[in-house]
Amino acid sequence: MPEQTFIVNGARVTVDVEDDVRLLWVLRDILAINGPKYGCGINVCKACTSHINGKAFNPCAVPVGALKADDEVTTIEGLPGQVPDRQRGEHGLHPMQEAWLDRDVAQCGYCQPGQIMAAVALVNKVKREGRSITDADLDAIRNICRCGTYTRIREAIRDGEQRM
């Protein structure tokens, strides 16, 4: 069985698994990293949204064999580690997670790790473009929340943007 090596949440891991197994299952079923959730397996619900080399992606749509040894995967579990201590909030978390807590966004919570990872990437993207979040940016977010927490997600992203 092939060996797969990559970095996840700051630690280099090597896993024996076939090349074509999607990263979501390697994270969840083999590495027990359960923050990224299964909601569709076809990259439409976005519940598994995580980061690769600082950008949002969906591990349900990436064969583990496509990862390089130096690719850095960050899941919700590793998100606080992406900012320096001084930027972390009262719970020791990433500013976007802190905004999520202040706004009490989560209901069932299942999609929320993916929502937060998408939100962080979106804020970083608009910052790179030298602008701030617009309603159109929020409308374009594809992460589904079946509890319908969209209103608070929108508030928390604008709040998190200020804190980031």
Partner: protein
């Protein structure tokens, strides 16, 4: 705990809200365990209105469920631990509605302890609770508010008595605050210090007074959820996140027609030899495969070559099922339509809609020859335990059923489809399984809100509505879970669906109210056709019933040349409802001028011991309706929503607001965009790119939710806003377009917004191009 006996209200205090003396128990043991069994039913509201009260006016579903809970809730216990914390095993399912937070707040309030010191877990199936372990009808807080408070108050009383001995003062001179008891001399004892001292050597009956509502500091304060930190850090545990030794990923390959059955597998050896695959086994609903990863289960399912027996609706489509529903419609009494009295008639159709949650049907099962253990998010764990024991051939007490937090329910987890399959697969394979439904299965085979029709006839004359009749006819809503226990479930399963129809009629009659003074009121329900996988979806009948109602209310207002708001305020027969509608109208700026193609709409609703009014603004202008979103559905957009609710005493107003926001988004989906299409024996929708639940591009950019102060006993909030919001969206759409819609969702019979995925194989392969879409 077998020595705990039922308790009753102190007879003199029954129904009294001034003095609140209740009886409960201190349970014998090594620490403080306080128990309570009682509910205080509010007296029926006096009906001083010309319309004869409907059943739900006098006795609604909440009272039915609360009465069902009466004989056994003595076993609700609050325990004090030596670390100063309190624990409570809630015999209900938390699926996002926020009941663990509300319950923790109630305990913190009555016990005088910090919220962070209260641990609320979900109780496993406890058959001794008989009726009292169903999560449904938004009933948890309504039913458990007093029992939980009484148990907490008894625990506090025991701690105070122990402190009196320790500190040398009478109980009446001590104060309890934040888990600490203080004496006048400044000496203190913590609950942790007192837990063992206060333990009762034997079980004894205790009388207790509850806190005065006016001194509440926790109840009624907007509070963040107790599970929020776990949710935002990815550490909240759902069934598929659990690690159970040997329980490998397992999925089921299903038939190409709805509820088809497997006959045989032609290539078992080939599939078994695929990477990661450990087991391939025929079960009653399909072919189960177990593998090292779920991805390898998907590969195996796609490779399986199975001989299927067609399901019961093979070859049939929406139109066939609708014809069956129409054939079951009961005749409605003829109303006059002449110069003196006019009758407005309107017939509506509501298509199948999915209650699929983000967290698909899933369960872990470890079945051995002499015992079994199950882990799943279950709203009916006792019934689940009984059914599983029966099918495995085990005694009921050898099946342990653990209730795990669920990633949404919307009615889905009233049934236990994943748990039943997991138990069967584990038994057939002889190994533990972590069984998860693929999204495609959850959408196509998972339970749904049944297709139904609603016919409304309203007669008016000289500025009065003389009669308002509504006849609702539906594909059967499955109530075979009973009220949580095998005996009532068996009653629901009587031949010919008669038992289930009785349940349907009871639920319908105890939930549905026409809240207007419209003379002779009549609402009936008939159900037919049990071939589908259905369940009570969030708010059951009310979203459709109230949508049909309120559209006709707007027609009546128009016929009488009255403004929709003024008309409703004139005819509403419920003062609480009038109050929330007036508040909603003020906040929503009812009647403001809007461009052509945009309009406001109103919906109101009474249920779960509360009332709500919703006003939305919709944009149905072509430039909005025809806007493009890649792989998504647009159409008219609700641009602003205002929801005002009086839910009775709101334990956690922040939680109530969250539920209202969710209800608004459910309503937008149900009214405008989301449905299942039955074509040639199967539902086409197979994922979130087919089933168009509300997305960010559909959600209102402007949402205001208001929780009104209330002196009423706490009602239910998880579902309460769906009906009023659905009706508001439908009415706004009708006013914006000048055409009353009669089919819901309104886009159901327009060209499909997607390319249907394959039925053989039944699940789509995961893409491989994810790295092309990073941002």
């Amino acid at each position: 705990m077998s020595d705990v006996r039922p308790t009753r209200h102190d007879a003199e205090d029954r129904g009294s809200f001034g003095r609140r003396r209740f009886l409960g128990y201190l349970v014998g043991g090594a620490t403080v365990v306080a128990a309570a069994e009682l509910t205080m039913l509010t007296p029926p509201a006096a009906a001083a209105v010309p319309s004869v009260p409907q059943v739900a006016d006098l006795y609604d579903l909440n009272e039915l469920l609360t009465d069902a809970a009466l004989p056994t809730s003595q076993l609700i216990t609050v325990t004090i631990h030596e670390d100063g914390s309190a624990s409570f095993a809630l015999p209900r399912a938390e699926v996002g509605q926020g009941i663990t937070t509300a319950v923790a707040m109630i305990i913190a309030e009555e016990l005088e302890i910090g919220l962070e010191k209260v641990r609320v877990t979900l109780a496993p199936a406890r058959p001794e609770l008989v009726w009292n372990q169903i999560t449904g009808g938004s009933n948890t807080i309504h039913a458990m508010y007093y029992p939980i408070r009484v148990a907490a108050a008894i625990a506090k009383g025991a701690l105070l008595e122990a402190a009196a001995v320790l500190l040398g003062y009478g109980v009446d001179r001590l104060t309890a605050y934040q888990g600490l008891i203080s004496a006048p001399d400044g000496s203190t004892a913590s609950y942790g210090d007192l837990a063992a001292l206060a333990a009762s050597p034997s079980t004894r009956q205790v009388a207790v007074d509850l806190k005065d509502d006016r001194s509440f500091g926790v109840i009624g304060r907007p509070t963040n959820r107790i599970d929020a930190l776990a949710a935002v850090t990815g550490t909240k545990v759902y069934a598929t996140d659990l690690t159970v030794e040997g329980a490998l990923p397992t999925m089921v390959c299903r038939a190409p027609t709805l509820n088809g059955r497997p006959v045989s597998v032609r290539n078992t050896a080939h599939v078994k030899a695929m990477p990661g695959v450990t087991h391939v086994a025929l079960i009653s609903t399909g072919v189960a495969v177990r593998a090292r990863t779920f991805g390898q289960c998907i590969d195996a399912i796609r490779a399986l070559d199975v001989v299927w027996q067609d399901g019961p609706v093979a070859g049939l489509s929406d139109a066939d099922i609708l014809a069956g529903v129409k054939a079951a419609e009961l005749p409605m009494p003829a109303l006059p339509d002449n110069l003196l009295a006019k009758t407005i008639s309107a017939d509506f159709t509501f298509y199948f809609r999915s209650n699929s949650a983000m967290d698909t049907n899933s369960a872990i099962a470890d079945v051995r020859s002499d015992r079994a253990e199950i882990w799943s998010s279950l709203k009916n764990p006792i019934w689940t335990q009984q059914r599983i024991a029966q099918s495995l051939g085990l005694p009921q007490d050898k099946v342990k059923v653990n209730v795990v937090e669920g990633g949404g329910s919307f009615g889905r987890r009233l049934f236990s489809d994943g748990a039943f399959e997991a138990a069967e697969a584990s038994q057939v394979m002889g190994v533990p399984v972590k069984l998860m439904w693929h999204r495609a299965d959850d959408a196509r085979v998972g339970r749904a809100h049944p297709m139904c029709t609603s016919r409304v006839r309203a007669m008016h004359s000289l500025g009065q509505v003389l009669a308002f009749q509504q006849s609702h006819t539906s594909v059967e809503t499955d109530y075979r879970h009973g009220v949580g226990e095998m005996l009532t479930a068996t009653a629901a399963d009587l031949p010919l669906g008669l038992g289930n129809l009785g349940f349907a009629q009871t639920i319908f009659n105890t939930t549905q109210v026409i809240p207007y003074d419209f003379g002779v009121l009549l609402q009936t329900i008939m159900e037919t056709d049990s071939r589908f996988n259905t369940a009570s979806m969030r708010n059951i009948y009310s979203p459709d019933v109230r949508t049909a109602n309120e559209l006709v209310v707007d027609q009546l207002a128009k016929a009488m040349r009255k403004d929709p708001l003024a008309f409703r305020l004139e005819f509403l027969r419920n003062a609480r409802l009038k109050r929330v509608l007036q508040e909603a109208a003020r906040r929503a700026e009812w009647g403001k001028s809007m461009p052509a193609g945009m309009a406001q709409g109103i919906g109101v609703h009474v249920e779960y011991k509360g009332v709500s009014a919703c006003i939305v603004e919709i944009d149905a202008r072509p430039e909005t309706v025809n806007r493009r979103v890649w792989n998504g559905v647009t159409g008219p957009r609700v641009t602003r929503a205002t929801m005002v609710m009086d839910p009775g005493l709101a334990i956690n107003p922040r939680g109530v607001e969250a539920q209202m926001q969710g209800c608004i988004n459910d309503a937008i989906a149900m009214t405008l965009t989301s449905s299942l299409h039955l074509r040639d024996g199967h539902f086409l929708e197979a994922s979130w790119d087919n089933y168009f639940y509300t997305r960010q591009w559909n959600t209102p950019p402007q949402v205001e939710t208001v929780v009104m102060p209330s002196d009423e006993r706490p009602g239910g909030v998880g579902e309460a806003g769906v009906a009023s919001a659905c009706a508001a969206v439908a009415c706004a759409y009708a006013r914006a377009t000048g055409t009353m819609p009669t089919e819901f969702p309104i886009n159901h019979n327009r060209p499909l917004g997607f390319e249907p995925k394959s039925f053989i194989p039944p699940v789509p392969q995961s893409p491989t191009d994810g790295l092309d879409f990073t941002y």
